[in-house]
């Protein structure tokens, strides 16, 4: 951040007081709580021998966990993109009794502590559980398998897709659809050629948000995953495992790799939003 001169501040600031105080406190508290602790992680990684860190990250067990985390997160985000669009569409377009309740319940994964959702999902999807008992005869092992991990990640990611799509769907100008219909487009054509392109940035953002959250998720996954090495261990769990073995270097290395991944995603999300805002601005 280039230091602005006092003069530019005076020009833009007007009469409202408290700028120095509030900005100063904001930066101070941000540094204290977030920036300094986070930089500890990177400094620790940088201080460790690169070869060791690389060895940790490329060990078969860690690689397997990265594969699982990425695959399950992608699968969950994809499921959420499809069903999240359905839920958002239903909540915005259709009127039905109990809509307000459904609308509120979508936020449950935000509000429910992850440990609670973890044990609840495990109990429901375990063999003999309310849903698991119907899946068992079909030869589907839901809990304690990669599928279980995906189920938990679907749960945790749903609100991201729905809550990003809802405003985008509400903002759609009904006249555009009417115009498409008046020009002879069928319902499906209208959706594919008019509606979908308009909500695509929101859909992508929702997908990326759900994916990012799924990558880092811990609480709701560890119970249902079963945590078998090489098979159902997620990356955050491995960090914890390394910590419990007092392997701080290993834990730090994995964490740094994950953090870089998360930041890349964050950057991507911001880029999508910037792109869509610009497009919106150019149109409107």
């Amino acid at each position: 951040m280039p230091a602005p001169t006092a003069k530019t501040f005076r020009k833009r600031r007007g009469v409202i007081p408290g700028f120095g105080l509030t900005l100063g406190y904001t930066i101070f508290y941000l540094s204290l709580v977030v920036l300094v602790p986070l930089s500890a992680l990177f400094l620790k990684t940088a201080a460790a021998p690169w070869a060791d860190a690389w060895e940790t990250i490329t060990s078969p067990r860690v690689l397997a966990s990265f594969r699982l985390s990425l695959a399950a997160s992608l699968a969950a985000a994809a499921v959420n993109a499809v069903f999240g669009l359905g839920v958002a569409w239903m909540l915005v377009r259709y009127a039905f009794p109990g809509k307000r309740v459904i609308d509120a319940v979508v936020d449950l994964p935000f509000a429910l502590p992850t440990a609670v959702s973890g044990i609840a999902l495990t109990t429901v999807y375990a063999p003999g559980g309310w849903i698991g008992r119907w899946l068992e005869p079909l030869g589907i092992k839901a809990a304690f398998s990669p599928l279980g991990v995906t189920i938990a990640l679907v749960f945790i990611g749903l609100p991201f897709v729905v809550r990003t799509l809802q405003p985008a769907l509400e903002d759609l100008d009904p006249e555009v659809e009417e115009a498409a219909a008046s020009l002879g487009a069928g319902r499906w054509q209208t959706f594919r050629c008019v509606i979908l392109p308009a909500i695509l940035p929101a859909l992508l953002t929702g997908f990326a948000l759900a994916f990012a959250r799924a990558l880092g998720e811990y609480g709701s996954v560890v119970f249902i995953a079963g945590n078998m090495p090489m098979k159902t261990e997620i990356v955050p769990l491995l960090i914890l495992v390394k910590l419990e073995q007092y392997d701080y270097t290993g834990a730090t290395a994995i964490a740094s790799a994950m953090l870089v991944l998360s930041f890349l995603l964050l950057f991507l999300i911001n880029a999508v939003q910037w792109w869509s805002a610009r497009r919106h601005f150019a149109e409107g």
Binding site: P4, G14, T26, Y94, R100, I102, P113, V124, P236
Partner: protein, 305 residues
């Protein structure tokens, strides 16, 4: 005013949809049916399961789960942690949103991104960074050990990790709300002779009170429910550093399912209360914004990365 502006708007759109561009009946049923089934399987059943499992052996067994020292100490610690983390982040949220919404300065969007940072960090990593700082092998570890201060595997560590994880909630709610409301009312108050504090307390704060409340509710829910980050720093000392979610884990791993779900049901009730309060706040803001020129979207839930 029965219906809110938004639902009226949606209603109008729905009506327009019926007239000119409505989905065919079977599409409607398909989407609604599939969506409701999906929500039922992924949200409804697990939520009901929490209470069903908790009450599996009857109300007596359920209530007994709270009758021991460890359970009570977990509840007490959870309340204590929230009581520290929420006010800290509330004050920060007010300061940050004031600076960001009322003034123009360079690097503002960078600052907003940095405030959101804790959302992008895995909970486990959020715990790890404090271990790296204050753990025995951490930067300040030896010094702290020399002075007999313990942070990791103790209550301060739990508090720190929670503050980190819940850091953005209030600020994130308030920034867009305050930005939308602009600075005219504050200017009006100042012209009329109000001091900075008077302007803040009498004009700004009442205008954002519902958004503020919403942010605090979310912040509190997360503070009480945080699991991953706290799990790393707590050390799982029964009766000392166990919060409710950690206690749930221990009970569950000991196959004490009724007790585990009993404690979990308290957290689930907290979550439901959060959802209800959130709906109320949303309803309030929409009601108030109905006739005001700038509709407040404060309570429109936002996705947190």
């Amino acid at each position: 005013m029965g219906g809110t502006a938004k639902s009226q708007l949606r209603g109008r759109r729905a009506a327009a949809g019926l007239a000119a561009k409505g989905d065919p009946g079977w599409v409607k049923w398909l989407i609604t049916g599939a969506s409701l089934c999906f929500l039922l399987l992924f949200l409804g059943v697990p939520l009901v399961a929490v209470f069903a499992e908790a009450l599996r052996k009857g109300l007596g067994a359920y209530l007994e789960s709270f009758q021991n020292r460890d359970a009570l100490s977990a509840i007490r610690l959870t309340l204590l942690v929230a009581a520290i983390a929420v006010p800290l982040n509330l004050v920060f949220g007010l300061a940050a949103s004031w600076a960001i919404a009322k003034f123009e300065f360079r690097g503002k969007s960078l600052l907003v991104t940095l405030i959101d940072l804790p959302f992008a960090v895995s909970p486990v990593i959020s715990g790890l960074i404090f271990v790296l700082l204050f753990g025995l092998q951490g930067w300040f570890g030896p010094w702290l050990a020399g002075h007999g201060i313990q942070i990791i595997f103790a209550v301060p560590g739990v508090v720190l990790a929670t503050v980190f994880v819940t850091f953005p909630f209030v600020a994130r709610e308030l920034i867009p709300l305050m930005q939308e409301q602009g600075t005219e009312e504050e200017e009006a108050a100042l012209v009329l002779g109000a001091s900075g504090w008077q302007t803040f307390w009498r004009v700004t704060l009442p205008n954002v009170k519902w958004g503020l409340l919403y942010g605090v509710i979310l912040c509190n829910a997360r503070a009480m429910g945080e699991f991953g980050a706290v799990s790393v720093v707590s050390g799982h000392l029964r009766g000392q550093t166990n919060t409710m979610p950690l206690y749930v884990e221990i009970l569950y791993n000991e196959y004490n399912f009724v007790a585990a779900f009993a404690v979990a049901s308290l957290l689930a009730l907290l979550a439901l209360l959060t959802l209800v309060l959130k709906a109320l706040v949303e309803w309030r803001t929409q009601g108030e914004s109905e006739a005001s020129p700038a509709p407040a979207t404060a309570a429109t839930p936002e996705a947190e990365p």
